[in-house]
């Protein structure tokens, strides 16, 4: 026998959580009645404490991941960017790390082609650092690993980038901008935005962050290794960019940085 379709009632706890969250995320939707005890203070003011915590929490999470971007635009403006970002990008994880993931892309949309276009690239560098901070605790590959391979077989070797190594590039001098805005860097430095771009290899270690400047060919070489190309293929790619590409020197640089695995 067909049953009458009836609207299914949500369990009270789920309904309460939905109604409360509606008011928290969209303050004009705070329920007036039947949810929160007033007890001398308007429910909307009470929910406002949680809305404020949420706003402040996202600001702080972003400031922790993007201290250079914050320093570049100032605390107040950074907070307003964080607020705009928060309304566009909902947090979908309990781990605050993920709250910041889309911030570089957000800045790219906000400041495309304008005078602040470099800001998205600085943020992308900071995200690469944050992401590498969470990578595995493993030893880097030592150059001794090559000892048993005859040189004529080098071209077929496959390397991986170390899990705590990242690549980041920009038409702007993001390395100098980043270095000039570190807490330990006391001198006020003027960085010219048209001073030329950067091809960077980032390696995060427990007590240090290394930002190594590669050239375009070296960067393409490291990126190709990271994507699984054999040494020979990666070198060919680099040579196609710059006929003067020095394979030995670049490989040594990657070993010294602990960038290979």
């Amino acid at each position: 026998m067909p049953t009458k379709s009836r609207e299914k009632r949500l369990p009270p706890l789920r309904e309460l959580q939905r109604r409360f969250a509606a008011g928290l995320f969209e303050p004009q939707d705070v329920p007036r009645q039947g949810l929160i005890l007033a007890a001398g203070i308007e429910p909307a003011l009470r929910v406002g404490i949680y809305t404020n915590n949420w706003r402040q929490g996202v600001r702080e999470a972003l400031a922790l991941i993007y201290p250079v971007a914050e320093r570049l635009v100032g605390t107040e403006y950074f907070a307003s960017l964080a607020d705009d970002y928060r309304s566009l990008h909902h947090s979908t994880r309990g781990d605050l790390h993920y709250v910041g993931a889309a911030f570089p892309a957000f800045l790219r949309t906000q400041f495309a082609n304008g005078p602040y276009a470099y800001l998205a690239d600085v943020a992308a560098l900071e995200w690469a650092i944050e992401d590498a901070r969470r990578a595995a605790l493993v030893e880097a590959l030592s150059p001794d690993a090559l000892r048993d391979t005859p040189p004529e077989q080098y071209a077929q070797l496959h390397f991986k980038l170390h899990p705590a190594a990242r690549l980041s590039h920009s038409p702007f001098p993001i390395r100098r901008i980043w270095l000039a805005n570190q807490p330990k860097h006391e001198a006020v430095e003027t960085v010219r935005l048209d001073a030329g771009g950067d091809w960077l290899l980032i390696r995060v270690m427990p007590d240090e962050i290394a930002l190594a400047a590669l050239d375009e060919a070296g960067y393409a070489f490291a990126a190709a290794l990271g994507q699984g190309s054999a040494l020979g293929e990666a070198a060919d790619l680099a040579l196609a960019i710059d006929a003067a590409f020095d394979l030995g020197a670049t490989l040594r640089q990657l070993f010294v940085l602990g960038a290979l695995r």
């Binding site: 969250a21 979908t92 995060v204």
Partner: protein, 298 residues
């Protein structure tokens, strides 16, 4: 961990008793600013607490420091992002990350909050209060069961500061917490500052809260500083973890120690974090207050 299930009174869920532990003295939070200093200076505190989520991922940088610190101190892993009380499905990826960390760090204690922070997949990344109803209690018992099952050990659940109460609630927070512990076997992480804050914000007697909790369930205490705000013409206390523990909270802590005995006690300081010496001095004060409370009780 010892795990035994004893039958409860007729018509109730069985009472579970699970045991684990930290040294019954004061500890401090391991925070990124002090990672290197804690490892190098090894301050005279009994144990360290780390926020689990800060060490998620495979964790090269922060986990390196936590594992170094772990060589010298017992560690508690305190979760802040599980959204335990949410009616969304439990985040199994989050739990997997936590379990991986637990295997690496071998903490003496793990804990989470009596709260929720997400609905329909959207997070406020804050600790939101629950209504204290039979339905919510059954939900929490089920969720704590799932977490303890998945992690293979007992968890402590912490009472939180709140700035509102729900119309639906039909039991006091302390009854809810005591029942949750009794029915799920979870321990209680008693945040004495949060009791003080809520007693002020919601007008109840903090002594009644302490008196209602089963002695054997409390496995750790948290102490912190709070801020005072004016809201709608009234004073509201906000749990900010940004300052020293106030005199009234020290007094309530002494009462808690008199009732529950010496407890692992964490000095929480998460905003405007001061120099390491300040945190250590605050922890030493907790040991002193606890010592005096025990002497007075004896």
């Amino acid at each position: 961990m010892n795990d035994s299930v004893q039958p409860g009174p007729p018509g109730t869920l069985p009472v579970k008793r699970l045991v684990d532990g930290l040294p019954a003295c004061a500890g401090i939070g391991l925070r990124a600013q002090h990672h290197a200093a804690v490892v190098a200076e090894r301050p005279a505190v009994g144990w360290l607490e780390a926020h689990s989520e800060n060490y998620f991922g495979r964790g090269s940088q922060s986990l390196h420091w936590l594992l170094q610190a772990r060589e010298h101190y017992p560690v508690a892993l305190h979760g802040v992002g599980l959204s335990l009380g949410s009616t969304d499905p439990l985040d199994t990826e989050h739990l997997r990350e936590w379990r991986r960390l637990i295997v690496r760090v071998q903490p003496a204690v793990i804990s989470e909050h009596l709260s929720w922070s997400s609905i329909d997949g959207r997070f406020s990344n804050d600790l939101l209060p629950l209504p204290y109803t039979r339905e919510a209690l059954a939900h929490l018992v089920d969720r704590v069961d799932q977490v303890q099952e998945l992690l293979g050990r007992r968890i402590l659940i912490e009472n939180l500061s709140s700035y509102l109460q729900f119309d639906q609630s039909d039991m006091p927070e302390w009854v809810f917490l005591a029942e949750l512990s009794r029915a799920s076997g979870c321990g209680i992480l008693l945040d004495v500052n949060n009791i003080y804050v809520n007693a002020h914000n919601h007008g109840f007697d903090a002594d009644a809260y302490l008196a209602a909790l089963p002695r054997e369930a409390v496995g750790e205490i948290h102490l912190a500083g709070h801020s005072v705000r004016e809201l709608g013409g009234q004073t509201v206390l906000i749990d900010t973890h940004s300052t020293h523990v106030c005199a009234d909270v020290w007094q309530l802590y002494a009462q808690a120690i008199a009732r529950f005995g010496a407890q692992p006690t964490l000095l929480e300081w998460d905003a405007d974090i001061p120099a390491l010496e300040v945190l250590v001095a605050e922890a030493q004060r907790a040991d002193q207050v606890a010592g005096e409370a025990l002497a007075a009780a004896a």
